[in-house]
């Protein structure tokens, strides 16, 4: 098809894309060309230096469209989009065309939507996919757009148009990290206007679709997609816990904030997201968002994503450490937690030292007494016969430490335990401890309270 010819710069188009085009065709015939042309001119008027970029970019697809005779509006809309792309491309990137197509996804929708929003009251549902049509660089993105367009068609349009626009732009912005503030600004405007339960659910669904669509990993974006997915899913999961309206708002906002890779917004995401985004919005008149993008360009997508992944890993491990270190449930924040961890490790090491000193003294004393104690106790305990025999054998050899005998017992038990499993071995061992305590050490009728209680505790833990 002709459209295939246009997009066959190396990118394949799924069948759905053609279907979208057909749908757009049907609707677009209603749209007057002049309207779109006016938008295009308006965009051109905004900034003169971008004309060169515009012309260059516009000319290239036009050239490729040698055989295409798109019914009026599509071509113009495409040109418009390309123009918008050109503006953004020129500001940020001087890289290849593909990047120009990919990165400033948000700005053309933004500009488009603003104009659409202001000018027409026509149900623009089927127009929405149009501006995004010339972003064919990703087959993944194409599918995303396809899904979103389908979703757009099925949903309600009259009151929720602006919302849908925001959704759509948000979903699209979900694919890219740059220029997310643009879409966020849109959301700010439009979320104010249309906030309903249904729209919220749609928003959630949109976000989810955005997440799902990201499952389709594009060329160089696999890692980004996955990590974004992660971020989004975690956020959506956390958000599902909360309540309806605010959740809906924060959903979209949070997903966008995740995409941004901006440290500021991520930190504030729990708190006043609206305020931060309003500030971001205020900082972005159509000229300034270029400045903002330049600043944020320092943290490129891959870096910010990697950082985010790292941060999540670290927080995961911190949670696990919290479970290990006793008394850290109430502690929140990495700094305090780290302090607690350091203190705990230091205390454990000191305990080891102290206990080793104690053991050294105690062991010395028992070494003195071992043989005597062993020799004293020669009568066999009933349930300890089997255990005691090697014990007594050892006693004949004169082990310095009755614990060696115990270890031999334990060794035999260990062999059996390998068959039976560790649980029995542990029980055996604790029985051994008690038995050794009873036979080897104690003439007392009441063997070690401490030892027994400790072993009992160990048993209970079993």
């Amino acid at each position: 098809m002709q459209k295939d010819g246009f997009f066959n710069n190396g990118i394949g188009i799924p069948h759905s894309w053609n279907s979208i085009f057909e749908i757009e065709k049907q609707v677009s015939e209603q749209i007057p060309n002049c309207y779109i042309n006016s938008n295009w001119d308006h965009s051109l008027d905004q900034s003169d230096p971008f004309e060169s970029a515009l012309s260059s970019i516009v000319s290239s697809p036009v050239n490729s469209q040698s055989g295409i005779t798109i019914p009026g509006c599509e071509n113009v809309v495409l040109k418009e989009l390309i123009g918008r792309l050109g503006t953004i491309c020129n500001s940020g990137n001087t890289s290849a065309n593909t990047s120009c197509y990919n990165t400033p996804l948000n700005s053309p929708p933004k500009l488009n939507l603003d104009h659409h929003h202001h000018h027409t009251s026509i149900p623009r549902n089927n127009q929405l996919p149009l501006p995004l049509a010339p972003f064919p660089a990703d087959p993944g993105f194409v599918e995303r757009a396809a899904r979103l367009s389908c979703f757009v068609e099925t949903g309600k349009f009259s009151s929720n148009q602006s919302f849908k626009n925001a959704e759509f732009s948000s979903a699209i912005s979900a694919s890219d990290n740059k220029a997310n503030r643009v879409s966020m600004s849109i959301d700010n405007k439009e979320l104010d206007t249309s906030m309903e339960g249904s729209s919220l659910s749609e928003q959630n669904i949109n976000v989810e679709i955005g997440i799902k669509s990201q499952n389709i990993s594009s060329n160089g974006r696999k890692r980004k997609v996955i990590s974004k997915e992660k971020g989004k899913e975690t956020h959506s999961s956390t958000l599902s816990v909360k309540e309806n309206k605010t959740v809906g708002e924060h959903d979209a906002k949070r997903s966008k904030s995740d995409e941004q890779g901006n440290g500021i917004e991520k930190e504030k995401k729990e708190g006043n997201q609206k305020q931060t985004k309003e500030n971001a919005k205020q900082a972005e008149p159509p000229k300034d968002y270029i400045h903002v993008r330049a600043r944020r360009g320092e943290a490129t997508d891959s870096h910010s994503l990697a950082e985010r992944v790292r941060r999540e890993k670290i927080s995961e491990r911190m949670k696990f450490l919290q479970s290990l270190v006793p008394g850290c449930n109430k502690v929140t924040g990495k700094a305090v937690m780290l302090d607690e961890i350091i203190n705990y490790v230091q205390s454990l090491q000191r305990q080891v030292e102290f206990l080793s000193m104690k053991l050294a003294t105690v062991n010395y004393r028992t070494d003195m007494n071992a043989e005597t104690v062993l020799s004293k106790d020669t009568h066999a305990m009933n349930h300890l016969d089997a255990l005691a025999q090697p014990f007594y054998a050892m006693a004949h050899d004169g082990p310095e430490n009755p614990l060696t005998a115990m270890m031999q017992l334990h060794g035999s038990n260990m062999k059996s335990s390998q068959i039976n499993g560790f649980g029995e071995a542990s029980a055996f061992w604790e029985n051994d401890l008690q038995s050794v305590v009873q036979t080897g050490f104690s003439q007392n009728q009441e063997p070690n309270f401490h030892g027994k209680t400790s072993t009992r505790q160990m048993k209970v833990e079993l």
Partner: protein, 177 residues
């Protein structure tokens, strides 16, 4: 050593007890070796003995874990190095002094060759000195990034805690004779 594994996340009780048993066994073994080997030397001095007991404790803890973990490897390596050095010391002084230095240098270089460069990662916590402190406390984590450091710390804490428990029970056993 997969960075994603979280020990004792599943079935913590069974793992903890198994670890405890293994630790206790190994520790007693080491202790007895200590006592049998060194019974004639320095038996009266408590400091030396306690030091040896402590080394035995750490050695047993590290050997139970094996070479799976960086901290256990570094502990075992340190103890080996110490053992070699001390053995060298107990030989003829003149001969061993040079041997000493050779060993020391050799071991040091070996150590260095094993860990060729010190990469200092950017502090993800954004706090001063905490990560450095942690690296000093946990053996063998100098080279790691923050994630792996936390992993090693978790494992180290777990093993240390079990070792402390084992030693407590032993002390109780011994003390209540």
């Amino acid at each position: 050593m997969s960075p994603n594994e979280q020990p004792t996340s599943i079935n913590p009780n069974a793992n903890a007890n198994a670890l405890k048993i293994r630790l206790a066994y190994r520790f007693l073994h080491n202790l007895n070796n200590l006592n049998t080997k060194r019974s004639n030397l320095d038996n009266t001095r408590i400091n030396r003995r306690s030091h040896r007991v402590k080394i035995a404790a750490y050695a047993s803890m590290a050997s139970v874990v094996g070479s799976r973990r960086a901290w256990s490897r570094s502990i075992l390596w340190k103890i080996k190095k110490q053992g070699v050095l001390s053995r060298n010391k107990k030989r003829v002084d003149r001969v061993t002094s040079t041997l000493h230095r050779h060993h020391h240098v050799h071991l040091g270089s070996k150590r260095r060759s094993r860990n060729p460069k010190r990469e200092y990662y950017v502090d993800p916590f954004g706090n001063s000195g905490q990560e450095v402190k942690l690296r000093k406390l946990v053996p063998g984590v100098e080279m790691m990034n923050a994630c792996a450091l936390l992993d090693e710390t978790a494992d180290y804490i777990k093993c240390l805690a079990t070792q402390v428990e084992v030693m407590k029970t032993l002390v109780d056993l011994y003390s209540t004779i």
